[in-house]
């Protein structure tokens, strides 16, 4: 660990030394150690690289860099080799010797590890030429590839903490707030409140003790944008937080991180300790006279604790229950003191704005939403992963260009943005520019930055029920509309999917939704009906098919579908007989079609999935 930094000059000297070290001329092998690459075996891969490079013959040939998430999670584990920007995907431990002997030693490309474009089918060598990355503007997430998140030296080498030095030593708090305001940065936690305005309110709120807080309680199923950032580049969040603390007049910061994010928690803890050791936290940071400390608090696993007032209650050691925000948290927040809460991604944008300036930042995005936004692109799409795109890009560009389109043979049906309480948008809205205001107008929201793509095999009533059931379980239960209303909505949706719906149900769902939106205590209840409202708005025919015709058009709702054998196609191979867990299918002899006993069928679909002759029908 380098010596404590007492001034801006110390930081600059250290940075120069670190950059020179990096100029050793050795190739760098950046291996993704992100959360999504772990189930694919990146830990073993990293061990294999370490072991191979420890051998004398190879030890000096390449530098191993264990990094955070690279984004294209679908194809992990990912290895990027510099110079050359060579991108290898789905790399296994057994590929390591070949990578070292061929690519590192001889400069040869290993074709089988290259990325294949799902649309054109061509293989691509360089990362920057992969369509997944082409339309992205990875201003925030891009540095993940350049650094080992557990090494503050790596962060400093790429310019880390220079924004802090600039802010503390060359700018007044008012100038920083003005810069953030002018940048047009809006809160990435979902609501999109102008960040600079929030900071200004908190700075002006009466009181000597103020707090700044990082909301890293990303509780959405399917969203992991904050995780990818906090585990992959924790210092960027910390740097933003310290700058915010200085601008607002706070000397204490908190990072509230969900305990279900072990990697993010570990990396932000390491980052915090390193920043303390280097004097980037603590007393008289870089000789500026500004004192600032940070504590990490682990969340207890409640979705509602991502809501600002519930998060602060939880930080105080109380039950994570929201309260009315008629008196804003910037005036009375944590322990009734002025408190400024921002999302991980918002804080991460701050050093970029301070370094590159508000004018540069404003060139990205739309009139109302500036900069970039990170999305967790998941679902029935080819390239699942974390993407960072400029605001204003269309849904179509994200799904088809970056995401590589829908999986083979299927048709796009809907995309849900913003997490479980976001809306489901249909195909005719694919050209919608993605920003805070446009998504809200369409009945959805930016929310957490979740983006779940659904194809024709998704039933929209079933999906609305799924999200509502999740939110019902996560409701804190304090207020009547949210607690009782969601339960009733779930019962109605359940009945519809079981063929027990009636024609008044849609109206009743709409009335219930209106009450939740209007009169729930917090944003959980206010937004919870979005999946129901939007699926009724855009896929009303599916609701009607379930209610009037007792039919599930997507063939998902078990009570409304049945399987049958298409006799003329069935050669009696018996695959389905073996697959059926209920012994509902009987083998009748070779070249004779099998027989399905519907009374025994549990509609699991195992026969349908296993039959490759399309001899099993479903309606």
């Amino acid at each position: 660990m380098p010596n404590k930094l007492g001034s801006k000059q110390d930081l600059e000297t250290l940075q120069k030394d670190l950059i020179n070290e990096r100029k050793s001329g050795k190739p760098t092998i950046a291996v993704c150690n992100g959360t999504a690459c772990h189930p694919y075996g990146c830990a073993q891969l990293i061990e294999a690289f370490k072991e191979a490079l420890s051998k004398q013959s190879l030890g000096n040939k390449a530098e191993l860099r264990i990094t955070g998430c690279h984004g294209l999670c679908e194809k992990g584990p990912i290895v990027v080799i510099q110079p050359g920007d060579i991108f290898y995907q789905k790399v296994k431990a057994e590929d390591v010797p070949e990578i070292l002997h061929e690519t590192i030693s001889k400069g040869n490309i290993i074709d089988r590890l290259l990325h294949t474009d799902p649309i054109t089918g061509s293989t691509i060598v360089h990362r920057h030429e992969i369509p997944f990355y082409c339309k992205q503007e990875r201003n925030i997430l891009g540095n993940n590839v350049e650094i080992n998140p557990t090494k503050i030296e790596d962060y400093i080498a790429i310019g880390g903490y220079t924004a802090l030095a600039k802010a503390l030593l060359e700018m007044t708090p008012e100038q920083i707030i003005e810069e953030i305001k002018r940048s047009g940065l809006r809160g990435r936690g979902g609501a999109g409140f102008p960040t600079g305005t929030k900071w200004e309110s908190c700075r002006h709120a009466p009181g000597d003790t103020k707090y700044v807080i990082v909301n890293a309680d990303e509780g959405d199923p399917g969203a992991y944008a904050n995780e990818g950032l906090l585990s992959g580049n924790p210092h960027s969040v910390l740097e933003g937080l310290i700058i915010g603390g200085y601008a607002i007049g706070a000397s204490q910061g908190y990072v509230y991180v969900r305990n279900e994010y072990p990697l993010a928690l570990a990396n932000i803890t390491i980052a915090l300790n390193q920043a303390q050791q280097l004097g980037l936290l603590g007393d008289n940071i870089l000789g500026s006279g500004f004192d600032f400390n940070v504590l990490i608090t682990r969340g207890g696993g409640a979705f509602v604790c991502g809501e600002s007032t519930a998060l602060m209650a939880s930080l105080e050691g109380k039950v994570g229950e929201p309260r009315a925000k008629y008196i804003h948290t910037v005036e009375k927040g944590l322990w009734n003191r002025p408190s400024n809460l921002n999302n991980v991604e918002t804080w991460s944008n701050v050093p970029v704005i301070i370094n590159k300036g508000a004018d540069w930042y404003r060139t990205l995005g739309t009139d109302g939403s500036k900069g970039t936004k990170i999305f967790s692109l998941v679902g029935k799409i080819n390239n699942t992963g974390l993407v960072e795109v400029p605001m204003g890009i269309t849904l179509r560009e994200i799904i088809y260009d970056t995401g590589g389109g829908i999986q083979v043979g299927k048709k796009f049906k809907a995309v849900q943005t913003g997490g479980p309480s976001g809306g489901c948008l249909p195909e005719n809205l694919l050209d919608l520019p993605v920003d805070f205001d446009e998504l809200t107008k369409a009945g959805s929201m930016m929310g957490s930055g979740g983006m779940i793509v659904m194809d024709e095999t998704t039933c929209m009533v079933d999906i609305a029920k799924y999200f509502l059931t999740f939110l019902e379980e996560e409701s804190c239960g304090k207020c009547v509309p949210c607690r009782e209303g969601m339960k009733r909505m779930r019962q109605i949706l359940n009945d519809i999917t079981e063929g027990k719906g009636n024609e008044a149900d849609i109206d009743l769902l709409e009335r219930l939704s209106a009450t939740l939106v209007d009169s729930s205590l917090c944003a959980l209840g206010n937004t919870a009906p979005n999946p129901v409202i939007t699926t009724i708005r855009y896929f009303r025919d599916e609701y009607e098919a379930h209610i009037k015709e007792k039919r599930c058009p997507a063939g998902v709702c078990k009570a409304l579908i049945h399987y049958y054998i298409i006799e003329e196609k069935c050669p009696g191979c018996g695959l389905c007989v073996k697959a059926c867990p209920e012994k509902a299918i009987t083998f009748m002899g070779k070249k004779k079609p099998v027989v399905l006993d519907e009374s025994k069928c549990i509609k699991c679909g195992a026969c349908y999935d296993v039959c490759n002759l399309e001899a099993i029908g479903k309606d």
Binding site: A302, V304, V319, R323, A324, Y326, I327, E472, E473, E474, S475, C476, G477, K478, C479, V480, P481, R483, E484, G485, M486, K487, R488, Q491, I492, D495, A504, L508, R511, L512, A514, T515, D518, S519, S520, L521
Partner: protein, 239 residues
Amino acid sequence: MINLDIDGREFKTEEGKTILQVARENGIDIPTLCHHETIEPYGACRLCIVEISKGARSKIVTSCLYPVEEGLKVKTDSPRVMSNRKMILELLLARCSKNEVIKELASQMGIERPPFKSEYIEDNDCIVCGLCVRACEQVVGVSAISLVNRGITKEPAPPFLEAATACIGCGSCYYICPTGAIKMEDREDTRILYNWKVEFKLKKCKVCGNYWAPEKQLEYIRKKWGLSEDFFDICPTCK
């Protein structure tokens, strides 16, 4: 002083008051269930919602919590308020279908039965307003009970669902409960609080011989205020 308009009437009032306070001081009726003037407002039942505006846009807020603002226009019975309040009462009635207080409130809104399937209608008395828990904490200062679980399973309960050992038997929870969900009984020399699984020996008045208050409660008060050992030997009626 602050000027505001409630249902077309102009009021002058002090800063720091809530809309509900000002409305009630002036005889404007806003229904509430989770509100009590001795306890900090909580905003759980949502019955006291009103529609407020300052300029063109209006929004729904709970009047028990919203502090008055200069120039605020408040409507306590606009169509938007009434349709939300009606649904909230329908939801409460579906939960507490046999509770007289809820039935009466619903009936005042013209609701005879909730709009949900009869198989889903429940017979509960507790609306989870938390008044019992809040009174025990804020007024009594004992915190013998709390709200446990979340979502639809949330309920007031003694610690670990066992006997509430910190309870002093004062019955504040019983008296403050707006729907009669807390069952308390004084049986000769014993007080039973069924919800919290506790029983208390009652103190006998040395003069009239009546059992008049739980010994544990009187002991709690005596110690808190430093009163003499014989202070509660005689009941308030005989004093």
